[in-house]
Chain length 240, copies 6
């Protein structure tokens, strides 16, 4: 049994459950998904202030993962913290931002990202640039929906995604990444509407972390992701 | 049963068999590997002249894959042809160059590639640049071994790989990609010697193509990878 | 007498003749043009599948050029194979893609490329990126015409080129490259309509290869363009 | 009286005091420096795990700055959090990483950064890339000293800085940035030894934030740095 | 008393006076502004021909600055010559192009530049690229006004700036740089109209050169900005 | 008869004559070379101060070229002014920096530049970056010789060039550009010593400007190279 932890980056239990279901659906037989969320922080992450609080809160959770955890998915699109998680853990860590962009690059020539609010666009661009995955990104398009407004069972959410997707295709994308963990249920319907592959980051990341585990690959401890130094960190973690 | 075709890009049967074994070892239960090779072309691909002949020869083979093929691995590191394969086929196509670089990027901060002859370095650099994966490549180091000289059961091959790997670490790499399909057997031993993750492209690509198939994702036909137009191609394919 | 081979990349005899006439018109006194075409492959190259078949077919032709050939023009815009040709031959090899972009860069600040189908745009972008000539490219605009539909004696072709050219100027281009060997006859009329220099790649490449020959310069054999290694290439070339 | 808050990113009181003294020395007459530090987190920040905890802890402190604060200096070189601070606050926020690189770019053609441990190099590179200031960085050189080992009154620290500085000059730098807030006292001596300008980030940032305040400029609230949305953030801040 | 020379790059006395007033307004107490202009050259700089004449004329003026000059502002947006000035002088030299872009990068995520004529756009882009400051530039928008037509006391100038500014915001800018020394009086009104920070280069440069002087920093003489070699320069300077 | 003006950028008559001879040697039959030099300015250009004076002095000369001039070569490697020349003139203008880099890119995979003093390296890098030709430059190596010390008939100059060339090959270059107009006589001998093609910029530029003239191509007047506006330029030109 392969145990994978999927970490929602916000404190909304509903969204953790949604992400869990998507991860379970994407996981292979024999994979056990453990979905969790931070002990503190914003109920939705929309912007860098939230994202940096969330990054620390996620690192807090990662320090207490079940012992059998063989790999981790960070389920926040464009959010901060992945390099810290790779330092903290020896097991593979996959960020849904990278995962979605990578699979998209295997399926098309240029990918587009659909996100929530306009204010998140630059942060996603910066995240992809740091990850070395920006070159083949044609555009990042905002739907105008807040994270908690995204409801992939509603027509208005799907319509907003379709409009943003059409703009992405017009700008040269031939494959679409869902740029928010909460959009996870829209992939199939949106793909049918747009006629192009739609990659959900949570599903992509679950598959990628399984791939790394299957190949026995673990995070490099030779360079910047070496284990954090032993030192005093007063007041951390904040619990208790 | 998931059927994956793994295409050696040269006409050396020994190497096809070696690649097949590596692919089988990397594949999940329930995956059937079909290893094949071109009907014509160089017995080893070292340089662009060979690579372009091989690209056409690989496209020739891809046109006649078994009907049940659900995904394809192109097993030539830094070789040409992937965009043509993505046009020709609807099923996912994963190039071992991209696959190795992607998994490496999930494991470390900067990756290094070990290749055969010095003459191949620029071609690999160009392949990674076109793939949008060059930014986090620290260096591409040649071992000085020709493709058919690589023998991962011999000490001298492993020593040459270790020396090239050490140079890569000194230039900032913290994870290593094996930059030749024939190096496939060296990953474990080299990882032990260097103390960093070593990613073999064939194994990486098998896992990635399985991931795409598991998620029901297929190549985009909306953009440049649309099916080739119907037209006269006299003398093609060259067989019989 | 300076002998220059101009290689059409498709198997359309009409287009070879058209290219030959353009090359002769662009050549200096004392230059003899030898126009040729592949022995196999697509009658028009539109996309990467065609382009990779064509690359191999062109390499096949290049191996049998007349002995007195002093330089070669590859007459396919954005097509693959130039690095292979530079390995195979000692004489200078000029790709019309590079040639057009270079001369354009000497005439204006930002150039635009007009091509045939939308599906070719990314391939041309990738070709210019690999050639290190993308930075000053303002845009690549498709006319929507297939390669064999381009008829520079017809008003509708010229109108389509003018419309695409206007879009390029609006996006910042101040010089235009004709991005298809078949557009060769449109340079003068299009220049008059748009009021900017229009560079035809075949003419540019003929002049550049003459320049290299005049200066006694030949392809470097010190690096990646060293002569292909002697090895078995069963079934290659495909003729006979 | 202009009130500027200077925020040490770690919880070492000694370092806060050192930074305070440097800020006071760099400040103009009429500027009041308020030096502070996080309520929780690592006593030194060396790597991304520490840096992300610190980023949240710094945001926590920034939410409770004295009302008269007219500008903020983030005194962690290459650390995370600046975009979040710019969202949270209306007053100008200057990161010492950007400040040092900017002044260096006004003084020389290519700058080098001296940092503490090798593990910090990639993080600084990523920070400069995100800030759009990497192009003119010749190199980032590690001294091998931990943050709390840096003692600019000791000969061994100065010798280590000089050695790293010499390596930077050999790689093309003609101006040096001190890449750690704790190196603040070494600028003058190191400049004398190396014969090039040495820019301390804390001093640079104090001057830059004064410049912004003098010109009446405040953080843009039109784009991604708009004030964080009102929402539930359970358990945040962690105090009380 | 700190003496700063502000050099208008054209020979229009009215503009020198306008720039002087802006510099005085931006300078701190205790700073003395010495505004000057070339002895020869264009009355307005619009394009590279003017810009290169102006660069030499500015270098001529810089060779005769008052002895007490502690720093220099080059008051031409996107104009040539800054590297030459840095060679000639030991005191800090700040170009308003760099100054505006730097302060803008501290205030927002992406900046836009408003300039005079369309023909100046590429030159400004090239200047920012050479300065290593182009990455975060969202767009450069022309108002269509010639340098001497810009009259920041007129409604039509302000309206033209507002229209260009709106286009910049639509393309992703969240902070605006005034891309012409003559726009210096428009910052406040334009900021009010657009709702974003507006950075005037002259004011920014005065503050930056003060900052460098305050910190005792001078131009590096170790690298390419070493003092010009002693040699014959017949006919230079052109006065007599 | 095709008349081409070749403009030495310094005021050394000996060097003008040397350049003239090289240009004549490179020119085709029927081309008349008119070699000239500025009326004022440095006797050698080594650094940006000299380069900007020279740029204006060259523009002065260009305004008085013989009426029959059909094209212009700017014979200063890495020097400023080319964009101004393209504004001033309708006939094609070729900078030897661009010309050498372009022909080098047609001959090898990565080119190296050999220059005079170390202080010139960054300026050449910036010139190539602005020209959009830096990507394939492996390195720029200084010989340590001043411009007027270069004597291609002396063994010590050739030895210095060979040493710099060897360093370039070790850094990945497979073709060499002579990065100073005064190195013009060394191409053949250096090529024999290094075993790679050596491109002299003057010869390359003469051939390129002939190519443009042969094709009837002239500088674009549609964009930034439109003819300079009519305006007062008091004191310019400085003669008389």
């Amino acid at each position: 049994m392969m145990h994978i932890a999927v970490v929602n980056v916000n404190t909304s239990r509903g969204m953790t459950e949604e992400i869990r279901r998507a991860a379970v659906a994407a996981a292979s037989d024999g994979t056990e998904i453990y979905a969790t969320q931070p002990h503190f922080g914003p109920e939705s992450v929309e912007g860098s202030y939230d994202s940096f609080i969330s990054a620390a809160a996620v690192l807090d959770v990662l320090a207490m993962l079940p012992a059998q955890t063989a790999g981790v998915v960070l389920a926040g699109f464009g959010e901060h913290g992945r390099e810290g998680a790779r330092e903290l853990l020896d097991v593979p860590v996959v960020d849904i931002t990278e995962a979605a962009a990578m699979l998209a690059q295997l399926l098309g020539a240029r990918y587009g990202v659909l996100t929530t609010l306009q204010r998140c666009v630059v942060q996603i661009e910066d995240s992809l640039r740091t990850a070395g995955l920006l070159q083949r990104c044609a555009t990042i398009e905002a739907t105008g929906l807040g994270v908690l407004e995204v409801d992939t069972s509603s027509r208005s959410t799907l319509d907003a995604l379709e409009r943003a997707g059409q703009r992405a295709l017009e700008k040269g994308a031939d494959v679409i990444c869902l740029g928010c963990a909460g959009m996870v249920g829209a992939a199939e319907e949106l793909g049918a509407r747009l006629g192009v592959p739609v990659v959900d980051g949570v599903a992509a990341a679950v598959q990628l972390v399984e791939a790394l585990i299957n190949l026995g690959l673990r995070t490099s401890k030779h360079g910047p992701f070496a284990t954090p130094l032993v030192k005093a960190r007063p007041g951390w973690p904040p619990r208790a």
